[in-house]
Structure formats: structure tokens, C-alpha cells
């Protein structure tokens, strides 16, 4: 069983989405010991003994992560299907680059596909989140 199916089916953590199941779109991105991974290409058993962080672990509706607030504020999502994976990737990116710049973001986030936004407002959302997180 894949890690994605385990998270979604066995644990009921359906915030991790499946967009392609062949490791291209990034909708299923989670953190394994803090590093981003495709949960569709990872077997659940491979995660045994490791710490897995999903979108649900970053924030909740009652206490949303600054990235979550920023995505809404800057309109960094439309249909929302790619959004959890994007936020997980952006979380990792901001941890490594607390002061984001667009050229880096264009490259570092190119493993997450969004079909709705054209990415422009996703970049703006991540920049806004960096502001929120530093204040």
C-alpha cells in the first residue's frame, strides 16, 4: 500500500491529494523527517519509524498556518486541489529560504503543478507568508 493511500484511507487524512499517482504533479507532497516526498510513490512501510508531516500537521481551520492564511489573502488558489501539496512544498522552501525570491521559487516549486492560478499569486502568497512568519 502506498503512503498516500495509507494516509487517506487508513488514517482518514484526506488533505493529501492524488493528482497523478506517478510522481509528477506534487499534489500528494508530504514531509518525511522534514524533507518533501511524493506520498504516491512511497510505500507506507517505508515510512515506518519516520516522522511524516501532512497538511493537517501544519495547521487547522481553528489555527491555520501563516502559509494557509497567506494563500487565501493573496488568492493563491482556485479549485484548491493542488493547494495542500503546494503549501507543504512552500513550507519546506520557506524553512530553507526565509526570504523568498521569485527566481528561486520558480525553480524550487516547479515540482508542484497548479492548473488554475498560473502560479503568479502562489508566488505572492509565499512572499506574504514569509512576511507573516517574520513578524
Amino acid at each position: 500500500m502506498t503512503l498516500a493511500d495509507f494516509l487517506r484511507g487508513e488514517l482518514g487524512l484526506t488533505g493529501t491529494h492524488l493528482g497523478c499517482e506517478h510522481g509528477v504533479c506534487g499534489a500528494c507532497t508530504v514531509l518525511i523527517d522534514g524533507a518533501s516526498a511524493r506520498s504516491c510513490l512511497t510505500l507506507a512501510v517505508q515510512a515506518a519509524g519516520h516522522e511524516v508531516t501532512t497538511i493537517e500537521g501544519l495547521g487547522t481551520p481553528e489555527n491555520p498556518h501563516p502559509l494557509m492564511r497567506a494563500f487565501s489573502e493573496m488568492h493563491g488558489l482556485q479549485c484548491g486541489f493542488c493547494t495542500p501539496g503546494f503549501i507543504v512544498s512552500a513550507f519546506e522552501y520557506l524553512r530553507e529560504h526565509p526570504q523568498p525570491n521569485r527566481e528561486e521559487m520558480r525553480r524550487d516549486l516547479s515540482g508542484n503543478i497548479c492548473r488554475c492560478t498560473g502560479y503568479v499569486k502562489i508566488f505572492a502568497s509565499i512572499e506574504r507568508a514569509a512576511e507573516l512568519m517574520s513578524s
Partner: protein, 770 residues
């Protein structure tokens, strides 16, 4: 405070950003069975043997269905939803209904067609058992190239495989071409693409007794309900279709699919919840494709670049069906001449069946194809005459004094195409200014080019849309609509509209849509129509509800309704703000029975409904400029900047409009440079994963500059709005192609076949050098 026009953050976002949204694959119902399909590996074949015995024995399998087993119980869908309306007679349309089979019965007609459905207690087991279904095929000759006239017949009811055809004649293009000072001819192709929403399709059906609840990732819940009922031969009331959260559509989910019918049937048969979630490989071969048009165009023009006539003949490769021939093909004719005054125009379009997946109206629906042809012609005229392409466009633009301009042909709704927009020249000059056109022409840099494109867009098409308003016990305004939002932010924009009408905040408005239990009639969200049509229905029902509220409050306050005003949750006496009743009190007074305080003759409750039937479409337009950098050694193109100016009438939420335009533009970049659904000569699809079907990523995003023109509000709907959802992808193909041609000057390159991949650019360079 007025909410319309504000950059309001969306109401729908919190569940989506926190991962607590619920899409079809996330819904949980006890005892849900999962389905995997056995699909055809052949473009065209006869099924000679079909054996499900071994699959039925597999662990966890509950049922396996095949075409012969559902014969007489589940009818194929015969879709004639786009029969020609009155007014379209001059186009001489000939349209045959599209047939969509639920499961293949004896014959398969495209790779990916469903042959058998395997139902098991888990998807893993269903997929394993699907491999145990034995199907023997006898391959048959297949129709692959729609240009060939001796293809095997795909469906007997479609003679010559021509499912739809039409012709338009404005003026006398033949005579104008015969007597022209200059002429040119091009073959222009928009390739087969797919919308590729990030959520694939999915259906969950649950049956209690005779009634089935269907959750589907669809843009058209009411039509899905009607089609399911029709196919199963049951009353519509026994099927409720709703969309939970939905991960995009772009036109791909604007059709009723076989799986929606079959999953409903299975749930009714087994009396259990049954779900199917499409995987991405299935999506790329068994969800609708789009575009796929080959045009042969001729143009007549004067020495100064003014085009006097255009004659176009095109074939749309329908695959096994073109369920919306007017949207996919007739839109080409009605948008072809874009912002230009071209007096003579002739076009002949055909939708031709082949043994491929069916063809649907993807975002733009005929407009990107038309705009690509028209603005390639504009640029080719400039190349031919050695003129600046901007001058050629300028000389052909419809001047303001000629507006409202009639294109002297019917729209697909049967009404005459008359633009209700103006300011084409001003928008074009502003584009040149924003993109730095003059400076680029004065001092071009090696490998850098600027190209231009234009478009018009009929938006807010019928047939109708619904709006229903009522108060709730908290004094909030509850809005129902037949639209089906899935990312467009309609909950927010419609709440802004209603908030203004009632003097409330958007938070005090509750918006619900996309559920057939809400109202008897609805259409859906597609074709840049929801803000126009649902917006009009909602504003009209708002007016009715305001009148009702004032009448009831008048009864409570013993005042004339005309002397009352509604705002901030209260109904107050005009000029006497201390005297008033709350909307909660109005709600209580509207209740049936002894508590009622209704004016004589008024029914209980507060529900008001309006069905908006648009007079015809309202016309948006726009201009797009592309800046590209081309490497002539490799043929690699980088789009550095896109500038777009667009008229969408009155803007309700600029943030949302910007998002629609940005996303649309990038889909346009994808269709221009990267994306193609490739079939080989045997009808085998060759792009079956996202490794082969290349979507633009963040690394491909150009700098995007946009301005909303906000000309006069539309007079064709009460909100003064025009649609904007589809505008983004229309003009980029022509603008980018023209920019590449510009970058390669002084070579006289022609680029007329999308996508413009590096090998194609290199080939064009070599051809120009030869």
C-alpha cells in the same frame, strides 16, 4: 460600503487551504464499493470473447458488469443538446446526435473505452481482478485521420462520419478573393489537447430504496441527473446529483460521462455505495479531449494591409463524438473575425468522427482556434507586404464610431452577432505602450521578439440560469443557484452582489449551488457564463425578495412598503432610522400558521425564484502581447512576458478576475508550446502520463501584466458584467507564434502548427533559409 468592485478574499478558502475540503475521493460512506474498469487497448475492434468468470472468483469482488449484461437496462446516451436553434438557418447546420456508449457492446471504438466494470471491496482488489477479465479482440480498420474520406464508418447514424457541418457566407468572399490585389493561403492547426484539471473525474453513488444520491466531479449536475435518469429509464426525482469540492474542470467536466451513469446503476443494483475515481492514465485517454482543428484559410488584402475577405474551411477531429458541435465548432465562425472589420467572410466547418476519445469544448471553446488562424493571417499579411504587424492590425480594427458593430451573421443562440463593446483601437494602442513596442521596433535585440494577438468573446450564453433567495432564522440571506462553481470563487462574488443589494456583509450571505435538490432547474458553470447568468438570476430574485421583505415589514410596522429601506439586517422607515424591524422578525412573520403576519394574499415563507434567460451573449474583448526569447540553434522558446488588456464589463472582484486571467494565460502558454494529446497512426494514444503530456510549471511562468479595461457596463444583463473565465487562453497562441516569427527576422518564418516545440521551430527556420 459597497462590496462589488472590492478585492475581497474568498469565503471558500479555509477548508481548501487546511486540507479539510472534501472532494469526491475524500467522501466516506460505510460499505462503499470501489470500481476499476477494463478498457479497450484498440482503436477499433470487434470483441470476440469476453470472460469474467475468473475475475468474479477473485477475493473481494462483488460484481463484474459487461456491455451485453446491461443491454436493455442501461441505454447509451444519445446527446442532441446542441440542436440548432431558430435563427441559425442561414448557417445551414446539419447536426447528428452524438452517441456515447456506457460499456462497449460487441465493438470498441477508441482506446480507453470501457469494456467491463469490476466492483470490489477495495480499489486494489478491483484493479487486480480487472486484470483477470479476459477479452479477445479482432482488430478492425480504424478511422484516424479525419481528412481521409474513405475511413470506416464510426457510427451508422452518422453518414460519411460527418457528425456536424455548417457554412456561413457574409458578403461575397469568393468574388473578393478573385479580384484581390493580394492573396495568401495558410494551413493552420490547433492540436488536440486536454484540459487536465488537477482533480480527475470521480463519482460516488449511494442508494436508499429507490432514491440515489450521486456525488460527481461535474460542471453540470442538472444535466448529469437528467442524462442518468434518461439512460436508466427512471424519473429524474429519483436521482440527486451534487458536487462536493471539485478540483477544476475547464470544460472537460461539461459532459455527461458513461461512468456517471454506470456507477449510479451499480449502486441501485447492489443497494450499496459505489465509487469510481479516475486515475490519471485513464484521464488522459478516457476524459474528453479538445481543439484538434485543421484550417485551410485564404485572405484577400490591399496594399496597406487592410483585409477585404477571408475564406476558411476546417475539419474538427471529433473522435467518437462531438457532444457540443455548436460550442466546439460554430464558435469558430462567430469569433473568427475578432476585432476586425472584414466585410467578406466565408467559412465551412465540419466535425468528423474518428476512432479516438471524444472532443469537448475546453476553455475558450473554438475561440483559441479561431484567434490563432485570424491573427496568424494578420501577421502573414504584414510579412507578405513588409509592413509592421501592428500597423496591419491597426488598419483592420473596428473603429468606435462603427459600434455597435454587426458581424452580419448569427451567434450560436440564433441571435445576430452585434458587439456591445467599444474601445478596440484605444486598447490596442495601450497594449503597444505597455509592452514597449515602439522601442523594440527601433532597436530590436537578437533573438527577442514581440507578437500580438486579439480576441472577442461572446459570454453569458443561455439556455438559462437559476437563482433563488430566502431568509433564514438568523436573518441571513440564503442564495441557491443552478451554477456549479469549482474554483471560480462564485460563493464570494455572488455574496458581494447580494451583500450590496441587502446592505449586508458578504459573511451574512449564505451561498449554495451545484446540487439538484436545491431547485428543479439549473444549468451549470462553463462558457464564461456564471457571473453573467447566475448573477442576473440572483439579482432579479434579490429584487423580488426585497419587495417581499418590505411588504411583510410594512405589515409589522403598519407602514407602506415604499417608505421602507433594507440594510444591516434591518428594515427601517426611510428618514426615521430609529423605527424598524429586523430580518429575523420578518422571517418569523413570514412563517405559516398562527404566527404569520403576512400582507393579505401573500403566501407564507420568503422564497423568491428567478430564471434568467439571456437575450443573447454579451461581448468581451481583449488584446495580448507576448515577448519571447528564441534560441535559433536549439529552437527553444522562452516566453518572457505576457501583457493582456481585457474588457469584462463591470468587475465584481478584481482579485478573482486577475486570477482567472493569469491562470488562463498560462493554459494558453501550455497549449502553444508544450501540450499535445498525440495519437499514432494506429490510434494509440502516446501521451498517457504527465511525463508525456507536459503542463506548464512555475518555471515556465512569464512576467504577466494585465489591465482590466472596464469600459461601459454591459447593457445585456442587470449587473453590467461580462464573462472572463475563458478569456486568458484565447490569444496567446497567435501572440506567441507571431513573437517567435518576429524574433527570427529577417528570416521569413511561418509557424502555423501547434504546439511550437523546438523541433518545429527549427524546421521552420530551416524552411525559411531554404
Amino acid at each position: 460600503m459597497t462590496w462589488v468592485g472590492q478585492r475581497v478574499a474568498r469565503k471558500e478558502d479555509l477548508p481548501l487551504v487546511t486540507g479539510t475540503g472534501l472532494y469526491v475521493p475524500d467522501l466516506k460512506l460505510t460499505g462503499t464499493l470501489e470500481v476499476a474498469f477494463v478498457r479497450s487497448p484498440h482503436a477499433h475492434a470487434r470483441i470476440t470473447a469476453l470472460d469474467t468468470a475468473e475475475a468474479l472468483q477473485a477475493e473481494g469482488v462483488v460484481c463484474v458488469l459487461t456491455g451485453p449484461e446491461i443491454r436493455g437496462k442501461v441505454r447509451p446516451m444519445v446527446l442532441d443538446q446542441e440542436a440548432a436553434p431558430p435563427g441559425l438557418e442561414t448557417a445551414e447546420p446539419e447536426i447528428h446526435p452524438a452517441t456515447i456508449e456506457i460499456l462497449a457492446d460487441g465493438e470498441v471504438r477508441h482506446v480507453g473505452q470501457a469494456v467491463a466494470a469490476v466492483v470490489a471491496d477495495s480499489r486494489y482488489r478491483a484493479e487486480d481482478a480487472a486484470e483477470l477479465v479476459r477479452v479477445d479482440y479482432e482488430e478492425l480498420p480504424a478511422a484516424i485521420d479525419p481528412q481521409k474520406r474513405d475511413n470506416p464508418i464510426v457510427f451508422e447514424n452518422v453518414p460519411g462520419n460527418v457528425q456536424a457541418r455548417y457554412r456561413i457566407r457574409v458578403g461575397d468572399a469568393d468574388a473578393a478573393l478573385a479580384g484581390a490585389a493580394h492573396r495568401l493561403a495558410l494551413n493552420v492547426r490547433s492540436q488536440r489537447v486536454t484540459a487536465a484539471p488537477m482533480e480527475t473525474r470521480g463519482v460516488l453513488a449511494s442508494t436508499v430504496g429507490e432514491e440515489t444520491n450521486v456525488w460527481s466531479s461535474t460542471q453540470i449536475p442538472w444535466w448529469v441527473r437528467n442524462a442518468i435518469a434518461g439512460s436508466l429509464g427512471i424519473p429524474q426525482r429519483l436521482v440527486r446529483v451534487q458536487i462536493p469540492h471539485m478540483g477544476g474542470g475547464f470544460g472537460l467536466k461539461v459532459n455527461v460521462y458513461p461512468e456517471e451513469v454506470l456507477i449510479t446503476y451499480l449502486s441501485r443494483l447492489l443497494q450499496r455505495p459505489v465509487r469510481w475515481v479516475e486515475d490519471r492514465v485513464e484521464h488522459l485517454i478516457a476524459s474528453g479531449h479538445a481543439r484538434d482543428q485543421l484550417h485551410h484559410v485564404e485572405a484577400a488584402f490591399e496594399d496597406d494591409g487592410r483585409i477585404t475577405a477571408v475564406r476558411d474551411r476546417f475539419v474538427l477531429d471529433s473522435g467518437v463524438a462531438c457532444p457540443y458541435p455548436l460550442s466546439s465548432a460554430y464558435n469558430v465562425a462567430s469569433h473568427f473575425r475578432s476585432m476586425y472589420a472584414i466585410p467578406h467572410f466565408a467559412i465551412d466547418g465540419e466535425c468528423v468522427l474518428t476512432h479516438k476519445m471524444f472532443n469537448l469544448p475546453y476553455r475558450g471553446a473554438g475561440r483559441p482556434e479561431a484567434a490563432f488562424v485570424m491573427d496568424r493571417v494578420m501577421n502573414a499579411v504584414a510579412q507578405e507586404l513588409g509592413l509592421d504587424p501592428a500597423d496591419v492590425i491597426r488598419r483592420n480594427l473596428i473603429p468606435d464610431e462603427a459600434q455597435p458593430y454587426s458581424m452580419r451573421m448569427p451567434y450560436r443562440d440564433g441571435h445576430e452577432v452585434v458587439y456591445d463593446a467599444r474601445g478596440f483601437p484605444a486598447a490596442f494602442e495601450r497594449l503597444l505602450e505597455l509592452i514597449g513596442y515602439e522601442e523594440h521596433r527601433r532597436s530590436p535585440r537578437p533573438g527577442r521578439g514581440i507578437g500580438l494577438g486579439t480576441y472577442v468573446e461572446g459570454t453569458g450564453v443561455g439556455p438559462f440560469e437559476s437563482g433563488q433567495l430566502q431568509l433564514d432564522s438568523e436573518g441571513r440571506v440564503v442564495v441557491y443557484s443552478g451554477c456549479a462553481p469549482h474554483g471560480q470563487g462564485l460563493e464570494t462574488t455572488m455574496s458581494q452582489v447580494v451583500a450590496d443589494a441587502f446592505g449586508l456583509t458578504p459573511e451574512a450571505v449564505v451561498f449554495k449551488a451545484g446540487d439538484t435538490a436545491l431547485m428543479p432547474f439549473g444549468a451549470g458553470t462553463f462558457a464564461s457564463r456564471s457571473v453573467v447568468t447566475a448573477g442576473a438570476a440572483i439579482i432579479e430574485s434579490s429584487n423580488r425578495l426585497l419587495n417581499r421583505i418590505k411588504a411583510i415589514a410594512g405589515e409589522l410596522m403598519e407602514m407602506a412598503p415604499e417608505d421602507l429601506e433594507v440594510g444591516e439586517g434591518m428594515v427601517r422607515a426611510r428618514g426615521v432610522p430609529t423605527r424598524g424591524v429586523s430580518l429575523k422578525e420578518v422571517f418569523r412573520a413570514s412563517s405559516p400558521g398562527p404566527g404569520a403576519r403576512l400582507p393579505a394574499g401573500m403566501d407564507a415563507g420568503t422564497t423568491e425564484t428567478f430564471y434568467w434567460v439571456p437575450p443573447t451573449v454579451t461581448w468581451g474583448f481583449g488584446v495580448v502581447g507576448a515577448v519571447v526569447q528564441v534560441d535559433p540553434e536549439t529552437g527553444v522558446v522562452k516566453v518572457e512576458k505576457l501583457v493582456m488588456l481585457h474588457d469584462c464589463g463591470r468587475v465584481i472582484n478584481p482579485l478573482i478576475v486577475e486570477g482567472q486571467v493569469e491562470g488562463g494565460l498560462l493554459q494558453g502558454v501550455g497549449a502553444t508550446l508544450y501540450e499535445e494529446v498525440v495519437y499514432d497512426a494506429a490510434g494509440q494514444p502516446r501521451a498517457t502520463t504527465f511525463l508525456d503530456y507536459l503542463l506548464p510549471t512555475s518555471a515556465e511562468v512569464p512576467e504577466i501584466v494585465q489591465e482590466s479595461l472596464e469600459g461601459a457596463p454591459s447593457e445585456r444583463n442587470p449587473l453590467g458584467v461580462k464573462g472572463v473565465g475563458e478569456s486568458g487562453p484565447i490569444a496567446p497562441p497567435a501572440a506567441i507564434a507571431n513573437a517567435i516569427i518576429d524574433a527570427l527576422r529577417p528570416l521569413n518564418v511561418q509557424l502555423n502548427e501547434l504546439p511550437l516545440t523546438p523541433p518545429k521551430v527549427l524546421a521552420a527556420i530551416e524552411q525559411a533559409r531554404a
